[in-house]
């Protein structure tokens, strides 16, 4: 009998394992995929020509064959379905550490306003907690995991415990110049990449390949930074290739553990635990709860409100790149830097003056990428018009690196069209009923993405650049991402004070099952104009502290 069973080893699960083992609990952690440690398994520093595929994407590694993340949109034997006429893409990272292996390391605290959306503009709901409840945990996460950034004293971009940020790249200075001209706030990025050694981890060596996983642990991934130290306490049992299918309950309505499939043998097994923490990623945790049906919980465990799977959101996204003639005939130099932008633009406008309610931030990319598969596709769009021979070869040399790109990442309002349920007909190869997704964007998101394009075009024009595609139309949805495509699913087990309209309380504890907790993106009441991972980490630590306190009191 374990004290705590944690399902999932990503940001939330890894942090829960770390905090709870340090607090003295005997923990078992189940991960659906195999073992992976970036420090051991990364393909960092492999040049493109080390592979006949030259880095091209594969089905199991859609972001490129050297990318750390194993899994993807389509996993053999593990389908999901989408309601007719809807579109949704569901990313599964089936490996120890989950998405933390390849994520962008963009580590932004939610600001005070982000917890109070409904109070501000009447849309969505307020969180039952505020920034002040989470701030102490953000501080702890900053100190434990480390990130770089700068103190800007912006009202809704709280300062963190930052290491020094790296200087901007050449093209980022051009972006900064244009942003200043257009009054778009542009500040150093905040990425969980070490620029100074921390807790036995080396600092970054600027190879720009964070997405491959870091061989020296200079960036954050759950296995190297959270799970390894948890294992070192001697109080963590790690089970990989364990696909959880449901949380089991006893006659008293309390969780008794989880049932899972051992993928290597195909056998159905059970793990007993006094407390269960679900951190399988927002959609997966909802799926587990909905599949955990019993006479006491006919709608699924902890689902008396009927809101499990509801209020599902993703970040809005769109991208645009421009050819910048001033950057042609580049000065050769190593522009790799960290595996992400050195500058970015946090939300800078007042939504009361715009036709969309919530904001977005802008990510920056471009410059002298390591040439790999797909190098400078579409050369015919450049001034040379295509061609062949010496003229073409010279064009590639001339225009290599002369691109700047922007990606917008914005806040979606939860809506009634966007949720997941269990498909009544389809099971995966483990016999587990699959998730069926419903999805819809509203004008709240479409108008926001339109604004992103207008902003990007203005920035590129300000830099003297050329945009190869026309402004997208409303019929094209302004090139908004597909739901799920940004891989920031939040909601499904949202927190609240009212058990009739929420799944977990302000401590991420299930209203209807007091020894059941959710520690991934599920409890989020809203998105923000910021990525969620840092908040997932902070909330998970906060929840773990609550659990430890309850255990100490004998309440759990």
């Amino acid at each position: 009998m374990y004290d705590v069973c944690i399902v999932g080893s990503g940001a939330g699960g890894g942090m829960a394992a770390h905090a709870l083992t340090k607090a003295g609990a005997n923990v078992v952690l189940l991960e659906a995929g195999p073992s992976f440690y970036a420090s051991r398994d990364t393909k960092m520093l492999m040049p493109a020509y080390a592979s006949p595929r030259r880095g091209a994407s594969t089905k199991t590694r859609p972001f490129g064959e050297f990318d750390a993340c194993d899994g993807g949109w389509e996993i053999e034997g593990e389908p999901y379905t989408v309601a007719p006429g809807n579109k949704f893409l569901w990313w599964r990272a089936r490996m120890l550490g989950g998405r933390t292996n390849h994520w962008g390391r963009i580590s932004l605290r939610f600001g005070p306003r982000d917890f109070q959306g409904k109070t501000r503009d009447g849309l969505g709901d307020d969180w039952p907690i505020g920034y002040d409840d989470v701030a102490p945990y953000y501080d702890r996460v900053d100190r434990l995991i480390g990130l770089f950034g700068s103190h800007e004293n912006l009202p809704n971009e709280p300062n963190g415990v930052f290491q020094p940020p790296p200087k901007p790249r050449c093209y980022e200075l051009l972006v900064k110049k244009a942003s200043d001209k257009l009054n778009v706030t542009c500040i150093p990025a905040r990425l969980s990449i070490l620029t100074q050694p921390l807790n036995g981890r080396l600092s970054c060596h600027y190879c720009g390949q964070c997405n491959r996983g870091c061989g020296v642990k200079a960036n954050f991934s759950s296995p190297d930074v959270l799970i390894a130290p948890a294992l070192a306490t001697g109080r963590l049992t790690l089970m990989t290739n364990a696909m959880v299918r449901e949380v089991t309950v006893g006659k008293d309505g309390l969780a008794t553990g989880v049932s899972y499939i051992d993928k290597l043998t195909g056998l159905d097994k059970h793990v007993d635990a006094r407390i269960v923490v679900l951190a399988a990623s927002a959609c997966e945790s909802s799926r587990i709860l909905l599949n955990s049906k019993s006479s006491l919980f006919p709608q699924g465990l902890a689902n008396g409100s009927g809101t499990v799977g509801k209020y599902l959101t993703d970040t809005t996204g769109t991208d645009l790149a421009g050819f910048i003639p001033a950057m042609a005939d580049h000065v050769p130099h190593n522009e790799d830097g960290v595996g992400g932008m050195h500058l970015y633009m946090p939300w800078w406008l007042d939504n009361t003056k715009l036709d969309f309610p919530r904001g977005y931030h802008i990510e920056v990319w471009g410059g002298l990428y390591a040439p790999s598969a797909g190098f400078m596709g579409g050369i015919e769009r450049y001034p040379g018009g295509g061609g062949y021979g010496k003229q073409l070869k010279d064009d590639y040399r001339k225009y290599y690196g002369a691109t700047i790109g922007f990606s917008g990442r914005g806040e979606m309002i939860p809506n009634d069209e966007s949720y997941l349920e269990i498909d009544p007909n389809v099971v995966d190869r483990w016999g587990i009923p699959v998730a069926r997704f419903h999805w819809g964007w509203t004008d709240h998101e479409l108008n926001q993405v339109k604004h992103m394009h207008e902003t990007f075009r203005a920035l590129i024009t300000e830099m003297g650049g050329q945009i190869f595609s026309p402004m997208p139309t409303k019929e094209q949805g302004y090139n908004i991402s597909t739901g799920g495509q940004i891989i920031h699913e939040l909601g499904g087990t949202r927190m609240g004070n009212d058990p009739k309209t929420s799944v977990v309380n302000a401590n991420c504890q299930a209203h209807e099952c007091k020894n059941l907790f959710v520690s991934d993106g599920g409890p989020f009441v809203s998105q923000a104009d910021k990525n969620p991972t840092w908040t997932i980490l902070a909330l998970s630590w906060r929840t773990a502290d609550f659990i430890a306190g309850q255990r100490k009191e004998g309440a759990l």
């Binding site: 492999m46 030259r54 190879c207 061989g215 000065v331 040439p371 050369i379 061609g387 073409l392 290599y400």
Partner: protein, 201 residues
Amino acid sequence: MSEMNRRDALKVLGIAPLAASIGVAPTHLERVARRMEALETAGATAAAPTFFTAHEWATVRLLVDYIIPRDARSGSATDAKVPEFIDFLMSDKEASPSSKTAMHGGLAWLDNECQHRFSKMFVTATDAQRRQVLDDIAWPKKAPPEMSHGVMFFSRFRDLTASGFFSSQMGWQDVQYKGNLALPAWNGCPPEALAKLGVSY
């Protein structure tokens, strides 16, 4: 595999001496170098193509070098083994049926056009004759409308050629890519580049 020393690892990686940064993960460099050797052995391209027919192979080997010829700075596409790269991609299990059809079909279109104009295949036409056809499909904005299928094929084939050439070691050197290193520090944009762009810190 026998233990590699650091110097061997660096040689295989083709990375200039990392003297100052060597404190960082020398065991990792060895691991990467070992994997590269394993990949080179495993992925060593066959002498004969597995996707292209013998005739297509001859056509492809000519065509890639029209696209990226040898010059003073670097070799040609065949020097960089671009045909082998394209053959690998097209033979791969991940290659879509439609891309395979487009490749076979595009090369056939090229031969059809040469037959139509010169009663020759691309490989037996003269250099001037081949260029006559390429001139009509290499610049989409100027191409005659009836050449649209050739334009489509050539644009994609050119992309693949560039992909294979510039992602090779020869290609990295040609465009003077200076990255994929472990650096002891990040020094930002060098003064010469700052001056060229008219920006500063």
